[in-house]
Symmetry: C2
Subunit: 622 residues, 2 copies
């Protein structure tokens, strides 16, 4: 029996008692840790108590059950509240609760998937709601199950643009299975928020984006209870509940006062006593609904049949990406594609044409784009998201956090480097290799031809972690046969002889300049080895060590700023303390480009065949 079956008075008493227990537990665990954000937990305790006691449908013993509701604590610093709720639900013990923030504990300062009930890390504000929008889309359009998505938001984080990307998208998609619960406690980290307790102003804004809104007193369990019922009864729009609350509620010394953000309470024992002491309430959380209904699967059209390109053709690698993605969609029903209103350029539009049900348009909202992919992979789908490499910088915080979420994401950045030509530097991905290399556990791939792209797009499907593929705008000659294998972590030796004097390491478009340079060098009597480092991370350390041993000189060539890209990846191989560094020189983009033809850009940046030839020749003389 759940509390919803109780008479109203009893039910309200239980909920209020649970709220107090959550407060006490938040205060206790922060006191034990000597740090944390108890006051931010206390303001939202009643909101979470009522959710747990009346609406949440969740099997805590089966956190991976696809029928479970999704509960996301977007204000991740209120983690003590989540952990207190997990104890109240019987998911963790009281003694584990008190390990909060300690070495080795699953109960981190901000929630991460080290806890099986947490699918997505939060703690960088403004991310939980966009992820929740992705989860609600997943429920409605992919899983096609009636689970609901509940997101507890802070009021401070409503200043983040990403929240409004989420409001806009959920309103547009009429995601009635989504409820945002906003804990309007009026106080941020260093003082009052912009709107303080003006819940009407929040409601005006959010409703203008197509949401149903409800304003309540966030400490009145009856009002909360009714608001949740109204949210679940609303079938044509997502609902936002604007709950007026008091930060530190229940601790008169700090309640609604500035200066107590992110600090354990000074006299925790007294506060706990005032709150009525520790309790042992266990809440009977209702199990998920529609358990007999399996998640939707999309029909497949047979075996994987990847597109093939003839050697010598000129094909942009972005075209090969689009075609390969569509082919993957034919063969695998769990592959989905996400766009930020540039599918015409990235070529993910090819997937859209053949798999419209599994294609998601987020318009120019890269943060929401990445957040939705994170949500989809958390439910077992295989998302590929694509936009211009340059515009992925817009979502760098989400990509960084995705690694903390242990997400498996396939990210494709098109229009890389100066080779895009006339559009100029704002459109050139020139820091993408550095940014993605610096994401924990990431993979960074940069193919140079269409058949290689196809193979790598296929390999990404099964890769764990954040896997980035960089594509080019213009055509490059096909140099590999269809069906050739390109293992992640490998490379290709394109020119070699027993008496090579220098190794040129290229990736993507620079592989072709490197080959042309090798021809020029051969005419001058210089034997140059050429390596195609299509896997920038992990890089092929063995091949590079062999090249260093045999040719003693390495020249790296990349259409990227000098920092953090291919050159640094190659250098890293020799930074293991084992041997002396070989002679290495990096060619990269060192001046700010303007507009020009692609060939002019590569020449100006010193990345064309002539420049490589000159640099390689110099290197062999040194």
């Amino acid at each position: 029996m759940t509390w919803t079956d109780l008479p109203p008075d009893q039910r309200a008493n239980h909920l209020a008692e649970l709220g107090q227990q959550l407060r006490v537990d938040a205060v206790r665990c922060a006191a034990e840790a000597g740090s944390g954000h108890p006051t931010s937990a206390m303001s939202a305790a009643d909101l979470v108590a009522v959710l747990l006691g009346t609406q949440l449908r969740y099997a805590f013993d089966r956190p991976d059950d696809p029928h479970n509701d999704e509960f996301i604590i977007s204000k991740g610093h209120a983690s003590p509240l989540l952990y207190a709720a997990l104890r109240a639900a019987g998911a963790i013990t009281e003694s584990e609760l008190l390990t909060y923030r300690k070495l080795g504990s699953r109960l981190e300062g901000h929630p991460t998937p080290r806890l099986p009930w947490v699918k997505v890390a939060t703690g960088s504000l403004g991310q939980g709601l966009p992820v929740g929008v992705g989860a609600a889309l997943t429920a409605a359009r992919l899983d096609r199950l009636p689970y609901r998505v509940w997101v507890l938001c802070g009021d401070s984080e409503l200043a983040e643009g990403s929240m409004w990307e989420a409001f806009a998208h959920a309103g547009h998609e009429r995601l009635a299975n989504l409820t945002a619960i906003v804990d309007v406690n009026r106080l941020g980290q260093r003082g009052p928020t912009r709107l303080e307790w003006d819940t009407a102003a929040y409601a005006r804004r959010i409703s203008a984006f197509g949401w149903h809104t409800i304003e309540i007193d966030g400490h009145d369990v009856d009002q909360i209870d009714r608001a949740y019922q109204e949210a679940t009864a609303t079938t044509d729009a997502p609902t936002a509940i604007l709950a007026r609350t008091r930060k530190g509620k229940g601790a008169p010394q700090v309640e609604d006062q500035n200066g107590y953000h992110g600090k354990p309470l000074a006299d925790a024992a007294t506060v706990i006593a005032e709150l009525g002491g520790a309790r042992q309430v266990t809440v009977p959380v209702a199990g998920p609904v529609a358990e007999d209904q399996q998640p939707h699967t999309f029909p497949v059209r047979g075996q994987l049949s990847l597109p093939e390109y003839e050697v010598g053709e000129s094909v942009p690698t972005r075209d090969a990406f689009g075609a390969a993605l569509a082919a993957l969609g034919d063969a695998y029903g769990d592959v989905v594609a996400l766009d930020g209103e540039v599918s015409d350029s990235t070529r993910s539009g090819v997937f859209e044409a053949s798999h419209p049900d599994r294609f998601f348009q987020f318009y120019i909202a890269e943060q929401q784009l990445v957040a939705a992919a994170i949500a989809m992979q958390a439910r077992g789908w295989r998302p590929y998201l694509a936009t211009f490499a340059a515009f992925l910088t817009r979502a760098y915080d989400f990509l960084r956090m995705a690694a903390i979420s242990r997400a498996n994401l396939r990210v494709v950045g098109s229009h890389a480097g100066v080779a895009i030509g006339e559009d100029g530097p704002s459109q050139m991905g020139l820091e993408d290799l550095a940014a993605f290399r610096a994401i924990h556990g990431s993979t960074v791939l940069h193919p140079c031809d269409a058949n290689q792209t196809t193979a790598l797009v296929r390999s990404m499907a099964d890769r764990a972690g954040i896997c980035y593929l960089r594509t080019s705008r213009g055509g490059t000659p096909v140099i590999y046969q269809p069906g050739e294998q390109f293992p992640i972590g490998g490379s290709r030796l394109l020119r070699s002889s027993p008496d090579d004097q220098v190794t040129i390491v290229g990736t993507g478009v620079t592989v072709h300049s490197a080959l042309a340079a090798a021809d020029q060098l051969a005419e001058r009597g210089v034997n140059a080895r050429v390596i195609d480092a299509y896997s920038v991370k992990p890089i092929d350390a063995d091949a590079l060590r062999t090249a260093a041993r045999e040719t003693a000189r390495l020249l790296t060539v990349e259409d990227h700023w000098p920092e953090g890209g291919l050159g640094d990846a190659v250098l890293e191989v020799f930074a293991d303390g084992g041997v002396d560094l070989p002679r290495i020189r990096k060619l990269a983009v060192r001046t700010m480009p303007g507009s020009a033809h692609p060939e002019q850009q590569l020449h100006a940046a010193g990345l064309d065949a002539d420049s490589i030839t000159r640099a390689a020749a110099e290197l062999t003389l040194e």
Copy 2:
């Protein structure tokens, strides 16, 4: 005489004619270039014609005049319209117009400050309006001049969260000197926008954020004219004009049709003829207002007097930053500080307390935060902006674009690395060194003690480009005397002897672990040199080369992921093709941290003294 003095009919005729000329010129220059976005220019041509002919107050012969209005083309791909307007204003010649997108031209695919009338680069959508908000704040609160800020926005870019950060901030600050002109042409890159021509929906949303809104037909010059008058007459709120337009207006073959984004017109000559051919209208733009009024200056309190710390004290470098910034504020009236609602943690609150007039609170909206700083420096102010290092990833696209804007920005990221302790990985800046190194022309600094921090905060004030300073949360011992000099590009040799066997290179918190390790190594009979690489970019190549020559082995130690940070910066020194290369090993954070005490974190990451000692000892044996 300007057109505003003409009788209404004549005025309307002139404006309509000018609109046609702007269209023709956009079509011409894109045709000449063979690329570009003429259709996106044509929809907004009348909007810009009326602005130029009636409202803009600008001395085109004095683009740096502080009284000039600010005109920002947020939809930067409509650059042909800007260039056509510059020709109409007599700022550039017809022959320069036709250099659009060609090698060496100032007229790039997207506008950059290579043109003196462009103060801020656009082209990554969603940035012009936040920059415009910064410009309007600069006018109102810093310059205190009556110039106005006009921002031409696209409708597609209203999907970007950054636009809503801007709407929220401008509404909150009641920036009546700001007008957003939204070119609602219904069509994005790959199809219709979310709201198409529903200008009422846009108006509802924007007005909910405290703006005055006006809906008009964006091809009716009278309506546009009246809307601009209404905007300038509105004194208590910013104004947004939602102008319904047709993409490709004037070219019936493509007008309001999908599939013509970012392409020159197929039959330009015919279109030009249909538009009435090339024209030679020159518009008499009115000069700026209040030219006798000088920009406001803030009184200073005398000579610079920087705080000083005693050797041996334990002081967090973030504390030293806050105190130094306040001292700079005392001495220099052009220093301003910007916060993203974390001033209590970054310590920029110290500046706020002493200089409230020059302190700007942007709440948790990092994109607006960076955009405003870009705008302020464009008007000659010296902004320092600070937030957690981790949260600067939120604004990475803005920082990347700031380099294209040739901006001088001082950016401070606090709470760097695992050394923050219990808060866990979401709050740890672990990719910031990589991200900032990969920004063109950037400077990256990471001090290890309070006096060094003070000196570097001072040096940043005069540094060109994007200058990043990384601070730490916890206290570190003061090891330098007050007043010591720390030139950018330098380093400090903290331990050395003629027979050193290994050099340990640290930065920030790891300098202290490195010193402790050197002591441990000395006990074992190993002489270790210690270098404090406080300047990560540019790095002190001479000192590192000397160390390599004299000790043959380098161990780099950084509280950062292995990619793109200190280790890669040190390796880069030896990637010049030269000889005498050392053995190098990098210590960095290689596993995902959880929550723990700072010392436990450093130990777990292998960055404490014991780990360094072990690694250094191994390196000397290899």
